[in-house]
Amino acid sequence: MIEIRLHGRGGQGAVKAAEILAKAAFYDGKVVQSFPFFGVERRGAPVQAFTRISDEKIRIHSYIYEPDVLVVLDPTLIGAEGVNILEGLRSGGKVIVNSTKEPSAFDFHGKNGVTVYTVDATAIAVKNKLGSESAPIVNTAIVGAIAKVTGLVTIDSVKKAIFDTIPRNKEANAVAAEDTFKNVK
């Protein structure tokens, strides 16, 4: 079983990203589970969402404390007060950050077997007119990067999951996912 924890801010769509990832894995024949951190969500506040992907029935129903993969939708959460993004990350884990920087710019890259991957999902979301320029919605874009980095899901299934989940601008959202799939570093 692979456990993925997503960190974002209210309004960026972390919960939908977790759901799209789960649906994509389901289309690829996996057993899946996805859920939000059950808080009272406010725009801009730190939020978490979770996805489990397995070959067998998933029996566990609790939060994810030791993720294999971390996804950070908003780089300002790294080092932010009261938020420890890296908490519980398994050694050899992967961290995917929505950032304009190179992976080596993050001091935890290469330590404890952790590998950082970056992609400018914000620019890609803006280019595809997802959300507004001041508050772009990066959730669909980031799932493309997750597909590329982890190999857990195929990009075709990601696009299908986007079409089944996102109510409008389906094509632009799918293009954004394909874009991060090609450009993640």
């Binding site: 649906k23 899946v32 589970q33 859920f35 059950f38 029996r59 566990i60 129903h61 609790s62 939060y63």
Partner: protein
């Protein structure tokens, strides 16, 4: 057909698949998605039913009682304060012998104001005469609602049934749910045809003033119906497994045959407990899990049989009967005493108000019971 859906949608599709013809419901977090989905399914013509928007949960149940008394298969859903507001009419539905099915999203009771998982709402309605099922995952939510109608509508049962699902851990968690084709449902679940119903061309009086000469017998008949329901739940579970391949009984045992310590759990904690059992077995500890799926009627024979070889029994309650202990703990103890089975029992309070119960929490619970005798009930992980 398999789909990824949350628990609220699984409950909604359960009602649709069970060919429910009338829904009256009032939205409350975290049940709101049930109301939204069912009204959408009815409005889109996918579900052939009438959906009544009502002004409260009390009205929702009252409307369901009216429709059910007229011989219509009905459904409603609620949570927490909503279920409590229904209390008066919950009794009415049960003593009226109306096989209504209700999905309750288990949520803590206020104050402190909470929207999170806790079984206090349904446990406090224990003595309303409703059968109560606690689901472990979204597939079980869906399947249980379909089975509920077949059980509740049995002429020798005729009692309403409440299917409980944990707030957020199921209601807002997306999982794979296998939906059953309508033509297969029709083979499994016959149409609802009550012997007596409100019918202008054949008038009857229902629920009239009942003297002490008769009321006692009405209660006794409900006792007999609850006893019969245990048998029907098992039979319907077997039939369901034959047709659809998934097995459900009154209880479910996991690795208990040689277990020294058995956890007794319900709801989503049961799934996490099975995972914990596997982890502890790898450490060489002989631990098992008994999931209590049906709380009313209480399956005392099955519970005693499952626990007969255990050296220690730990009951995990996500509910509390103020001034005593967790309700499941009381029932398990009472069942064992009734059958003359005596052994060390521990009542552990966990997950109250939506506090996460992880494999770590359950390992801590087992360790606590293996150490010096904890005082019952023991509140695991209290931060003061």
């Amino acid at each position: 057909m398999k789909q990824v859906m949350n628990g609220d949608f699984a409950a909604s599709y359960g009602a649709m698949s069970a060919l429910v013809k009338y829904v009256a419901a009032y939205p409350i977090t975290p049940q709101t998605l049930v109301v939204e989905k069912l009204s959408e399914l009815v409005a889109d013509g996918e579900m052939d039913a009438v959906f009544s928007k009502v002004e409260s949960e009390h009205s929702a149940m009252a409307a369901c009682i009216g429709a059910e008394a007229a011989g219509i298969r009905t459904f409603t859903a609620t949570s927490s304060q909503g279920l409590l507001l229904m209390c008066e009419v919950l009794h009415w539905a049960a003593r009226g012998r109306l096989p209504i099915v209700l999905a309750n999203v288990n949520r803590a009771v206020a104050p402190g104001w909470s929207i999170w998982a806790d079984a206090q709402d349904s446990i406090s309605q224990r003595d309303t005469g409703w059968m109560q099922v606690y689901a472990e995952d979204n597939q079980e939510v869906y399947d249980s609602i379909i089975m509920a109608y077949k059980i509740a509508e049995s002429p020798d049962v005729l009692l309403p049934m409440m299917i409980n699902l944990d707030a957020f851990f199921l209601s807002h968690t997306s999982e794979v749910v296998d939906l059953i084709d309508k033509k297969d449902i029709e083979k499994f679940l016959p149409p609802y045809e009550p012997k007596f119903k409100l019918n202008p061309s054949e008038p009857h009086a229902f629920n009239a003033l009942t003297s002490p000469d008769h009321y006692f017998e009405l209660t006794y008949k409900m006792h007999l119906a609850m006893e019969k329901a245990k048998k029907r739940i098992t039979e319907v579970g077997v039939e369901f497994e034959k047709m659809f391949g998934r097995r459900y009984g009154l209880t479910e045992s996991y690795r208990i045959e040689d277990a020294d310590t058995v956890l007794v759990t319900f709801g989503t904690i049961a799934g996490t407990a099975k995972e914990t059992v596997d982890l502890l077995r790898k450490e060489g500890k002989k631990v098992g899990n008994l999931k209590i799926r049906v709380f009313r009627p209480f399956p005392q024979e099955e519970v005693c049989e499952a626990l007969k070889n255990a050296k220690k029994v730990i009951v995990v309650d996500r509910d509390y009967s103020y001034g005593f202990e967790g309700a499941f703990f009381t029932e398990v103890k009472s069942a064992l005493y009734n059958k003359g089975v005596m052994k060390p029992l521990y009542g552990m309070m966990a997950g109250i108000g939506g506090r996460d119960v992880s494999t770590g929490t359950l390992k801590e619970i087992v360790a606590k019971a293996e150490g010096e005798d904890p005082k019952n009930p023991y509140f695991i992980g209290v931060k003061l």
